[in-house]
């Protein structure tokens, strides 16, 4: 393998966030090297469902980022098609919309209230009664009491999107290296970053982006500037290929509280969607179990039970496989996007919990704006590194 020469920016982590940052930085004319200790798009990015949602976010900074990102997705995909051609830029983008469903009386009021508050922030959210919901989704349970339709929700194939972004980085003169672990940083005498340490030596660079997802906390410690990012395990069930069953992303109204829960214990909330290949993806589960990726029967049982609760026809379909992965979770539930105040040249782009796919374009754009000194479209303050629950320890050990 040839030696890696140098780069303007080294992005650590070739998942969707790293890829989106690398794309935005390379679009700004910087020479970008993306490193991943594993294969690109093989960790958290490959463990989810490809959600691009506004529906699950109440008014606040995350919704602002999601709105900006949802606007950017089609433009970004058009750029990729122009640059790479239709085949390489094919990412199974489906602006299919989302439907949030209440099947319990106590969920009806909060769902309508959330939709109302979201509408004040410019999100399209349409209240539906049971009949209207079943018109949109004919296989939906007849126990539905009320629903909310979000036409702006979308779905994308996360691995295809990531590899397309990385292909653009390479087309612009950047490099992507899987199987290369970053062991730490190299500092010049003033304390700023001037390189990344890998097995074969050091790669000179002017800036480093920590896009390590659930491992961003570990890497930040190796980099000498610890931030609090923790893993939150999720499991997805995949059915065998089926004829069209679910037209949109459909999920239960209790999903938002499952995301927001600080409990360590298992949080399960039904999320169901079809894919271009006919399989139905069934989520969602959240557990704080460190980095244990065991598939637990109880989790699978509850995922299946909840999915059948929304779509009874799924009761008899074959299950093809299941997979587990880790979301990057921050204690205050907001991503971390910005320069580390303790280490000039070290940037973080992580902490997106289960929303990383959808938030990737705006995250990449925000990071590139900040790094290049441009005025960002989204207010960066809520995502700053220097937050009490995120920044760990005042001193930097080197």
């Amino acid at each position: 393998m040839s030696r890696i020469e140098s780069a303007d920016v080294v992005v650590i982590g070739a998942g969707i966030i790293g890829a989106a940052c690398a794309e935005a930085l390379s679009a700004a004319g910087l020479r970008v090297l993306v490193l991943d200790r594993g294969a690109p798009a093989d960790a958290t990015t490959a463990s989810g469902e490809g959600n691009v949602l506004l529906s699950d976010k109440g008014p606040g900074p995350e919704l602002d980022l999601a709105t900006a990102s949802r606007r950017r997705w089609p433009d970004l995909l058009a750029t990729l098609r122009d640059e790479l051609g239709d085949e390489l830029a094919q990412v199974e983008w489906e602006p299919k919309g989302g439907l949030v469903v209440a099947t319990a009386e106590e969920a009806v009021g909060p769902l309508a209230d959330l939709a109302y508050r979201q509408r004040q922030f410019g999100v399209e959210a349409v209240d539906l009664d049971a009949a209207a919901a079943r018109e949109l989704e004919p296989h939906l349970t007849d126990r539905v009491l009320a629903a909310a339709h979000y036409p702006q929700d979308a779905q994308v194939h996360p691995v295809l999107a990531t590899t397309a972004l990385l292909a653009a980085v390479r087309a612009r003169g950047g490099e992507v290296r899987g199987g290369v672990e970053a062991h730490g940083l190299v500092f010049e005498s003033g304390g700023a970053v001037c390189g990344v340490r890998v097995a074969e030596g050091a790669v000179p660079c002017a800036a480093v982006v920590n896009a390590c997802g659930p491992w961003a906390g570990h890497f930040s410690v190796a980099a000498g500037a610890a931030i609090e990012v923790l893993p939150r395990r999720g499991t997805v069930l995949v059915t065998g290929p089926l004829p069209p069953v679910v037209n949109r992303k459909v999920y239960a109204a209790d999903y938002v509280s499952a995301v927001a829960s600080r409990d360590v214990d298992l949080q399960v909330s039904a999320v169901v969607e079809s894919t271009a290949t006919g399989t139905v993806l069934i989520g969602s589960s959240r557990q704080r179990v460190g980095f244990d990726d065991t598939l637990e029967v109880e989790v699978l049982r509850r995922l299946a039970h909840n999915a059948i609760g929304l779509f009874p026809v799924l009761a008899g379909v074959p299950v093809m496989r299941a997979y587990s992965g880790f979301r990057p979770y921050t204690p205050d539930r907001l991503p971390v996007i910005g320069e580390d105040p303790r280490v000039p040249g070290l940037w973080h782009a992580t902490g997106h919990e289960g929303a990383g796919i959808g938030l990737a374009p705006a995250t990449g754009r925000l990071l590139a704006d900040l790094l290049c000194g441009r005025k960002p479209e989204v207010d960066p303050l809520p995502f700053r590194v220097d937050r009490p629950t995120v920044i760990v320890g005042p001193e930097v050990e080197r």
Binding site: G240, P241, L242, V313, G316, P318, M320
Partner: protein, 85 residues
Amino acid sequence: MQVRWDGEEVEAEAGQTVAGVLLAKGVRSWRTTRGAGRPRGLFCGIGVCFDCLVRVNGVPDVRACQRLVADGDDIRPQSGAELPS
């Protein structure tokens, strides 16, 4: 033992899979794709790809490479992907 493939009687042996019986008979495709109706049969042969789906005794989406034949089994081709009824 005797099983039926698409209405026709076929000899089978205990321990054979449905895929084994069909391949021995020279049948290489027993399913069509959902979109373009193209022929499909065995692919991975180890039960993980879900490409070899066939209808057995009225139940669709059975993996032919995994299912052992039983006397009197009624094996029929499957069109695309089917929902259980």
